[in-house]
Structures are given as structure tokens and as C-alpha cells.
Amino acid sequence: MKIDNSRAKQLRLDFPILNSNKNGKPIIYLDNGATTQKPQQVINAISAFYETQNANIHRGLYKLSQEATEAYEQAHAFTEKFINANPHEVIFTSGTTDSINMLAFTLPEITNGKNIVLTEMEHHANLVPWQQLAKRNSMKLKFIPIKDDFTLDYAAAEQLITEDTAIVSIVHTSNVLGTQNDAKRICALAKDNNAISIIDAAQSIPHSKIDVKRIDCDFLAFSGHKMCGPTGTGGLYGKHDLLEELPPYKTGGDMIRSVSKENAEWNDLPMKFEAGTPNIAGAIGLSEAITYLENIGMENIEAWEKQLLKYALEKTQEVGAITTFNPGVEKSAGILSFNIAGIHSHDLASLLDDDNICIRAGHHCAMPLMTKLGIPGTARASFYVYNTTEDIDALITGIKHTKQVFAKGIPK
């Protein structure tokens, strides 16, 4: 079913926070890029696990442990199906940051080449781990530049990705610009040059249909908390053969087949990469979130968020004196960064908060991008399936009010 305002309002009923009040006013949540709200279904799935199935997995011979193991393995299977991966190609991690760090620690063992290619619009999570790797292994970082229209310069990418390139890791959807990068195209460039391709899907997986076979990436990282799932959850997709080749990252219980005092043999996928007791309840919550999103339909979610973006772009334009940092509806997910002339984004966020309008202000963990844009930060509204054009109207009213406050100040 296509989403419109009335469907979005219906979905909103599933989200306790969005139906609550603070100081007598409803909460207008426009910070979905940071984390999304959780539907009651997900919250209940977590509680239900603890109330009826809680046990450690893999090693218990009793029914409770067996049920927990089955639920955990089913969460794996759901997640794999969700992104069209093969069985055992998704490793559960604590989030995108964890996933990318895992790669930055283990990939050197199976790659050659001197360069790591990123983009100028990376989140720190897909930048700092590579800086560290570059320092450890004397490699060099290269950055695919951004054009004036806030899209990637693919022509430059073709120059930058060469036979010397070991790893190409790019953000799928920019958490600042909203730009939806052509992951398939970049991965093909990587493949042509025998480089490993990695997609930071933190901002794309919650909002659009991801098909790892279509993108043909080697790895793809994501976070559960940005897609209606619990905090402390996430995943790393990897092609089966690469996961087999890759050495383990964390070691300990469950990831081994056998251990002597001096040696250990690794277990099968995905256990090889899931040392210790995993976030079992978290995985079950994540799988419930996936079910929730699939019931709505990822295509429907993406389409609705683009409609919201279109509306927001029009309305901010009408206000005037607003600079937006966005490539336009065709090329952007539902994320809108902007600045108002003469008003710092912090001050805007604070004043909007008086009316419980939640937006983010600052560098959005993308400092090099801010440097590139020549600004200290932006205000950012980011949408999800439960937002409506009325939320955007409230935002616009708040912006206008902020402009008034800044024009004269509140009298003593």
C-alpha cells in the first residue's frame, strides 16, 4: 500500500513516543538519521524474549536454550533474506561502526594494494577506522570528490580507483546531504581493479530496498537502531568466499571449533565472527523490526520519504534566506540539511525544541564534509515512514518563529 499522510498517521500509532506528550505538546520527531523510534511490536518482541525464552544459545541441551537458539538463527535468516544475501552471509555486530572496524582490522590479511578510496561525504565511522589502518600499514587515503550539486564525481572516481587500490568503502546514502550514491557503479569500478568494495548502508538500509546481489558489493554494513530496531544491534554482510577467507576479528567462546592451550581452530560461518554471547534479545528485536518494515514495503517507505523531502524543499524555499545542502528529490533520500542566514543551527534546534520539534544541529559526524562545504555545521531534518507533511509544517512554523526571535529578541 502506498503511503500518504493518513497511512503515515496510522503507522504512527505503533510508536509509543510519537503518541506521547511532553509538557502538554506532542513530539515531532525529525531526527531519524540519528536513530529511529521503535514500534510497540519491536519493544514487545524484546520483552517477550526475556519473559518466555531467555537462555544462552548454541550450547544448551534444554528446550529453553534450544528455543533461544532457533529464534536467534531465525533472526539471522530474516536479515539475510531482507537484503537478498545467501545463508550465513550476515554477521551480527553491535552496529555500523563495529562492522566497519571489524573490516579495518581483518581485511589487511587478504588484500594487497596501497590505497583506500573513500568519498568526501563519509561519516566518521567510515573514515577514522581507515585512517588508523592507513597509519598501521602505510597506506594512503583518497577521496572521491563531491560536485557542486552535492553528488559524487564519478568521473573522478574512475581516475582514483586504480590497480593500486586495495579497498573502496563508500557511504550509500549521505547522512548530511541525503545523496543516494550509485553503489553498483562504484562497486563495479572496485571489481575491475581487484579492490574490495564496502558499502556503509547505515542510512540506506532503513529507507530503501537493498539487494546485495544487485549492488554486487563485497561487504555492506548497517545499524539496527536506525531501522526501528534495538540499540546495540547491526550487521555486516560479506560474500561467502570472502568471509571464509577473512581471519576472525574478536576471538573467544562459540567462534571456535576446538582449543588447546596454544592453538584454536575456527568455527563455521557466521559463528567464526560472533565470539562470545551475542546480543540475543537485540537480534530478535532487529528481526521483528525487519518484519515490520517489510510489511510496510521498502519501496513504499522510500517513495513516501521522497515526497516528504519534496514538500520540505518547497516549503523551506518559500521561507527565504535558507540555504539547503541537498541534490534534489531524484537523487536524495529523506534527509534535508540547511542553514538559515544569521542563525546558528544550535540556536534553531533549541528554539524548535520549545515546541518538541526534534532536529539535529552540528557537524553530524562528518567534519571533513563540513570543511569542504566551508561551514561549521547544518541543521538537519531527517524523515521516516511515520512523518507527515504536517510535521514539516510545524518545522516551517518553528523556523519562522526562530527568525522572528532573532530579528528582535525576547523583551526583558
Binding site: 548454541h58 550450547r59 541441551l61 528446550k63 534450544q66 528455543e67 532457533e70 571456535i256 571449533r257 576446538s258
Partner: protein
């Protein structure tokens, strides 16, 4: 929510199973073995070693040893009885139901790995893989 069948584990501990556990057939070392593999259940640490003499593609003799649970020992015992004289091809074609048929008891899903370790190890031995490192 759960698919765990409600049969009692007790149903597994039939007299014929326990008899084999206490006095397994084909238990011990095989002199002159041409094929050997040490199998391992990472879940519990149980291990079992299967040794074979294979000639002209047929099993001439087979023995197994290890410290396993009743289900593991009984299934390995039944299995080694079953395969004597069989072709290696016939052995490689054996599947889970064949083991369950031999055992004639309901196996709870938690214990599947115990019941199948014998077959897995046997097939690896036939394929000619060497014993695992950690001897």
C-alpha cells in the same frame, strides 16, 4: 513460537540403544586402516575417530572409538555395522534419515548433532581427509 517437539527425551533411551552404549560394536583401533578421520562436535567437545580398510571401493573393515554420549555411541555402532561390505559410493549417499532409521528412536532436535557425528566422521574418513590437527 517454537518448533520443539514435545516428545520426551526419555523416549530415546530404549534398551537397544543403551545396550549399544554399554557394549558398542566395532569399538576400538583398527590395524592396517587405509582411511581415518577424527570428527568433532564443537558444541560439546565430543570427538570420535573412525578407521576403515577400504579395498576395491568397498569397506572391508571398520572401527570407531571416542568418548561420546549414548546417542553418539549407539548411532556409530549401528552405522559401522550397517556399512560393512558397502561401496564407498553407497556410504557417501547416506543421509540423516538413514541414520534415524537405523536407530529406531525419536531424536530431539537438540540431539541431532550427537546422532549424526558418526555419519559425518565416517563420510570424511571415506573421502580420505586426514585427522584434524588437535590430536
Amino acid at each position: 513460537m517454537s518448533n520443539i517437539e514435545e516428545t520426551l527425551s526419555e523416549e530415546m533411551y530404549r534398551e537397544h540403544i543403551l545396550d549399544l552404549y554399554k557394549s558398542p560394536h566395532n569399538f576400538g583401533d583398527l590395524e592396517g586402516a587405509t582411511h581415518k578421520h577424527k570428527g568433532f562436535n564443537p558444541l560439546c567437545g565430543d570427538e570420535i575417530t573412525v578407521q576403515l580398510i577400504i579395498k576395491d571401493g568397498k569397506v572391508q573393515a571398520v572401527k570407531f572409538k571416542g568418548q561420546g554420549c549414548a546417542i553418539n555411541i549407539a548411532s556409530s555402532s549401528l552405522l559401522t555395522d550397517e556399512i560393512k561390505g558397502k561401496t564407498t559410493q553407497a556410504i557417501m549417499e547416506m543421509k540423516t534419515p538413514d541414520v534415524l532409521d537405523l536407530m529406531k528412536i525419536p531424536i530431539s532436535s537438540v540431539r541431532f548433532k550427537c546422532a549424526l557425528l558418526g555419519l559425518e566422521t565416517l563420510q570424511k574418513a571415506v573421502q580420505g581427509s586426514e585427522p584434524d590437527g588437535n590430536a
